[in-house]
């Protein structure tokens, strides 16, 4: 009688070990670039969402310079295009499945609009598949990270900004030296969670042919008709990637909490 897991199968898939190593490397690279793109995008989006740019602001006051009582002009004067765009982007990306976004980027943007050069990096990373995957995942995580960063920035007491500005710091210096260091400390658990989610979610890119860990599982299954044992290997690899990541961030979290309660 067959048992659920057969040790013999592990030795049968052992020759394909290299695929798993390469898959792991691809997953790590994919996650790394996704996080990088996502974080930069999120900072930009959060800045846009929190911006106070009202190009139609002049419509809100009457000829004597007093604020209007209401009406269309007052509503128009409160229109903030940067914030509107960022909010629209975030809501759109959060309300559609990742796989749809990945397909649209791969088949739509890079399939029809932009043609990517075909080459491989390190001999196993196919650029023309890897790049759209990174872009799609980065755009997706940017939306989530934006909301995390925005809430973090808004959680900092307004008195901090007042103190910084009263000392003559610009809004940029205030953000860089006062608000962001405190905000990032507060949102580190949420960011850690998002990083781990990215590592796991990157598995979806195997559907567009990125040769990550899941693709290794599929390749082994195709060659040997063994399915459970490769999946267990994949499980172990994903766990070994995600668990230390969250632990590492927990360590930084403790280190950054100097100056809190003691």
């Amino acid at each position: 009688m067959d048992s659920f897991i057969q040790l013999a199968n592990f030795s049968k898939i052992a020759p394909y070990g290299r695929l798993f190593w390469q898959g792991m490397a691809v997953t790590v690279l994919l996650s790394f670039f996704t996080v990088a793109i996502g974080f930069v995008l999120a900072l930009l989006l959060a800045t846009m969402r929190l911006s106070k740019v009202y190009p139609l602001g002049f419509l809100g006051t009457d000829r004597e310079g007093r604020l209007r009582d209401g009406g269309v002009l007052l509503t128009l004067s409160r229109f903030n295009p940067l914030s509107f765009l960022a909010t629209a982007y975030v809501e759109l990306l959060r309300s559609t499945p990742v796989i749809v976004q990945v397909f649209i980027i791969y088949y739509g943007v890079f399939g029809a609009l932009v043609t990517l050069p075909k080459f491989t990096i390190f001999g196993f990373v196919k650029f023309e598949r890897f790049f759209p995957g990174v872009v799609a995942l980065g755009m997706n995580s940017g939306a989530y990270l934006c909301e995390i960063i925005r809430s973090g920035i808004q959680s900092i007491d307004g008195g901090q900004t007042e103190a910084a500005r009263s000392l003559g710091m610009t809004q940029g210096q205030n953000m860089r030296f006062i608000i962001l260091p405190q905000a990032i400390k507060n949102i580190l658990p949420a960011i850690a969670n998002e990083f781990v989610v990215i590592i796991k979610e990157s598995a979806i890119t195997y559907t567009i042919g990125v040769q990550d860990i899941m693709s290794a599982v599929n390749a082994v299954r195709g060659a040997t008709f063994i399915i459970i044992e490769p999946l267990l290997v994949a499980t172990a690899i994903y766990f070994c990637l995600c668990f230390p990541t969250s632990k590492l961030i927990a360590y930084f979290e403790r280190r950054m909490s100097r100056g809190d309660k003691r």
Partner: protein
């Protein structure tokens, strides 16, 4: 110490909320001279904090003008020395106006020394060693030199406020704005903060102080301004104002607080 050298000239300053339904400041006109220790008193909701916070544009006024060193800082654009219209650099002006807050607003993620040296290094581009030396000297003056490497959370309220004062002094401001500096303190810590402020006044620092400490107003101030309902109702030298209040609102207020 008061001089005839006008530092701040406020004309018809207004701050409206809800389209004018709430008039936090309803046309304030007041001048402040170098060396002045002007104390602003008044019942809560009288607009005294709003007025103080308008002076360095922490609150954007709805109308009126504030001339600081002859420059109208409420304008977005000003004429420079060569007569061209340039964007007003409010950060430059804020450097010259130190501000001390009711809730201290120290930066919790920075040590006391870093709290003090951050703005001089980043804004004034003073080198770190010089900034730190200066910070230590100022800390010594307020008796907190030994706390330089502590974090704000480790300090008592009175210590935090003394640090906040010297942090503002690091920028070498021309005027210090105090927004109820002792209101959030335990009673036994009020004295140590007032002592520092008294010392500062003695050295000739121009100060504008919003406070409920009538003793301080009487003893240290050279002018007292009484505000109510967003208006400046009475202004006089302290003894005259406290002993012979003229406006009925002031008489009523003093009868409650003295």
């Amino acid at each position: 110490m008061a001089t005839n050298d006008k530092l701040i000239e406020v004309t018809d300053l207004k701050k409206y909320y809800n389209k004018g339904a709430i008039k936090a400041l309803d046309g304030i006109t007041a001048d402040f001279y170098r060396g002045d220790v002007a104390v602003i008193i008044g019942p809560s909701g009288s607009g005294k904090s709003t007025f103080l916070r308008s002076l360095n544009l922490m609150e954007e006024p709805t109308g009126g003008s504030i001339l600081f060193d002859g420059v109208d800082i409420t304008k977005k654009k000003v004429r420079d020395a060569s007569g061209r219209m340039v964007r007003l650099d409010i950060d430059k002006h804020r450097q010259k106006m130190g501000m001390v807050f009711q809730h201290f607003n120290l930066f919790p993620h920075k040590t006391i020394l870093e709290n003090m040296t951050l703005a001089p290094i980043q804004v004034k581009k003073i080198d770190r060693a010089a900034a730190e030396e200066k910070a230590i000297a100022l800390l010594r003056r307020v008796g907190l030199e030994y706390r330089a490497s502590a974090y704000p959370i480790q300090l008592s309220g009175g210590q935090k406020q003394r640090v906040a004062i010297v942090r503002a002094l690091m920028m070498e401001p021309e005027v210090m704005l105090f927004d109820e500096p002792t209101s959030a303190l335990d009673p036994e810590m009020v004295g140590e903060v007032l002592d520092v402020m008294r010392e500062l006044a003695r050295e000739g620092m121009t100060m504008i102080v919003v406070t409920h400490e009538m003793g301080f107003a009487r003893e240290v101030g050279n002018r007292v301004l009484f505000m109510a309902d967003g208006r400046l109702l009475e202004e006089n030298e302290p003894r005259e104002l406290f002993d012979h209040p003229r406006h009925p609102r002031l008489q009523d207020f003093l009868s409650k607080v003295l």
